[in-house]
Symmetry: C2
Subunit: 312 residues, 2 copies
């Protein structure tokens, strides 16, 4: 069996996975607080627990983290896990467990899970686009997971799409993530409410300032015309970055994941429609399929485990 971890800023989630089927046999959760050695002890403890609980041996472990996870198993940059930066979590966990450990970016791991077990099945050339607080992406090209020279592939949320646009928290002007993340959806809702075009949002949130992407999504699902218009504008911004990725990589499918995939069909069809509008040369290309991710919040831990299984 394999253990896959998704290590976030607050929690570490662990799944015990049968690598031959992808079945999840057990799961566990622990705090990810503390420094590198502390986290290694936490993760090793979870593995011990699952090994004992299930009676199965654990042959490898995979760790998915938000940020720049180097192929060597060192996290080079992670706003969510500042204590982990430059700590060799991969080698240290390997030593603690005595089995091979793979460390990868969480979106990259999620991509591999969707490829093997989810909405990427049947496609050799697709992108996984995780829309959450920011945007994480990953790619399968010619049936192979793209990791990049160092393991940093898929930082597409930082791709600049509006070079003279607003300044983002990264210091860049106009990166895709500024316009098409969950953070952006909330801002678009607040702007619409301020302009008198989203009164429902003000009611739901208590004030225009308190509107988040959840309020926009909820009101749109209830048929509120103001929210539907905001969501349509948001889908356009998602499609703008997706169109760039399709031009660069000639993808045949886009898998929309992350928290915002809970919006469901309105998001999927909105992005698909705008992609047809924005993709130059769309008349000469096969239509790019836009689908929703299938594995939900388990994708990263599952994919991290499957990537580790590939080491065996």
């Amino acid at each position: 069996m394999i253990v896959g971890f998704d290590v976030g800023g607050t929690n570490a989630r662990a799944l015990l996975i049968d690598p031959s089927t992808g079945d999840v046999l057990d799961s566990a959760l622990a705090s990810s607080a503390g420094d590198g050695p502390h986290l290694v002890a936490t993760l090793a403890g979870l593995v011990d627990e699952m090994r004992t609980g299930s009676g199965h041996p654990v042959d490898a472990a995979g760790v998915g983290v938000a940020g720049l996870a180097h192929r060597s198993g060192v996290v080079r940059y992670s706003p969510n896990l500042p204590n982990l930066v430059e700590f060799p979590i991969g080698p240290e966990l390997e030593r603690a467990l005595g089995v091979p450990v793979n460390v990868g970016n969480d979106a990259t791991a999620g991509t591999w899970a969707e490829a093997r077990l989810g909405a990427g099945r049947g496609s050799d050339n697709f992108a996984f686009v995780a829309l959450g607080t920011g945007i994480g992406t990953g790619f399968v090209l010619d049936g192979r997971l793209v990791q990049g020279a160092s393991g940093f592939a898929g930082e597409s949320g930082h791709m600049v799409v509006d070079a003279h646009g607003p300044e983002h928290i990264t210091g860049q002007r106009g990166p895709w993530e500024y316009f098409a993340s969950g953070t952006a959806l909330g801002r678009m809702g607040r702007e619409a409410a301020d302009a008198g075009r989203f009164d429902r949002g003000r009611v739901l949130a208590g004030s225009a300032e308190a509107i988040t992407g959840h309020h926009v999504a909820g009101a749109a699902a209830d048929g509120d015309p103001g929210a539907i218009l905001v969501l349509d504008g948001f889908c356009r911004e998602v499609a703008r970055g997706v169109a760039n990725l399709v031009l660069v990589l000639d993808l045949e499918r886009i898998v929309l994941g992350g928290g915002l995939a809970d919006i469901g069909e309105p998001l999927r069809s909105g992005v698909g429609t705008w992609l047809g509008e924005l993709l130059v040369g769309a008349d000469h290309r096969p239509t790019v399929e836009v689908v929703l991710a299938e594995l939900g919040p388990d994708a990263s831990a599952l994919g991290a485990g499957l990537m580790a299984a590939d080491l065996l």
Copy 2:
């Protein structure tokens, strides 16, 4: 032996290649005018000529074309070769020659040539960026050439980097190619001359309106401060798109090719410097190497031949 073709709007260039070494044994040129069947006859004639002239059998042929070349050997879109669109040049040439034929995008083919024989050697994760009238790109990831679902990968020149920027001939607003192609360099030179910041260009070209990228490049090579400033601004625009590609794919090397690579070291170092400025998180990443292409105008025909050799 293999024959590699580079079919442009005016000419078809053919190289007779030893696929085991990449050595070019012979070359020939013919007009690419006429419809699909006419072009097939032209290319088949060149193969016959080379076969007879060299005394070597020809085991496969590869064709590089500007535009969307489908993996099936049909050109789906090509502004330079309107007569060829939807014509099954691959299958028809295969029938005429009696050997396997591969059809691919010219920049994709050039990428593979640089990978095998040129400036991509020693890197498993690089981009070839051909700066000419427009921008063509290609990628090697994990040592493999990226072709995409249909064979259309690398249309990065159309990637939007300035969503509210000027309208391009494609109808898009602010694609990379608008700012960073040879066409753009000429425009930047004219704008600088109009603003009184590039008098040398006016002298060289006869008038501000007649300034092209060549005048900017020439004057910069001669040390003209106005031209050097224009070229620096141009390098920034090239780097802006390159930064996006690095974020998406985690490339370790950028190979600058196409006609503008003749500018040489000032282009290379300018793009490298600006890339360091514009690439978010550059502090946490290994420095991306920026190098000049090594194979010049032969790259596409060479690469098309090498791609065909891979069919054998």
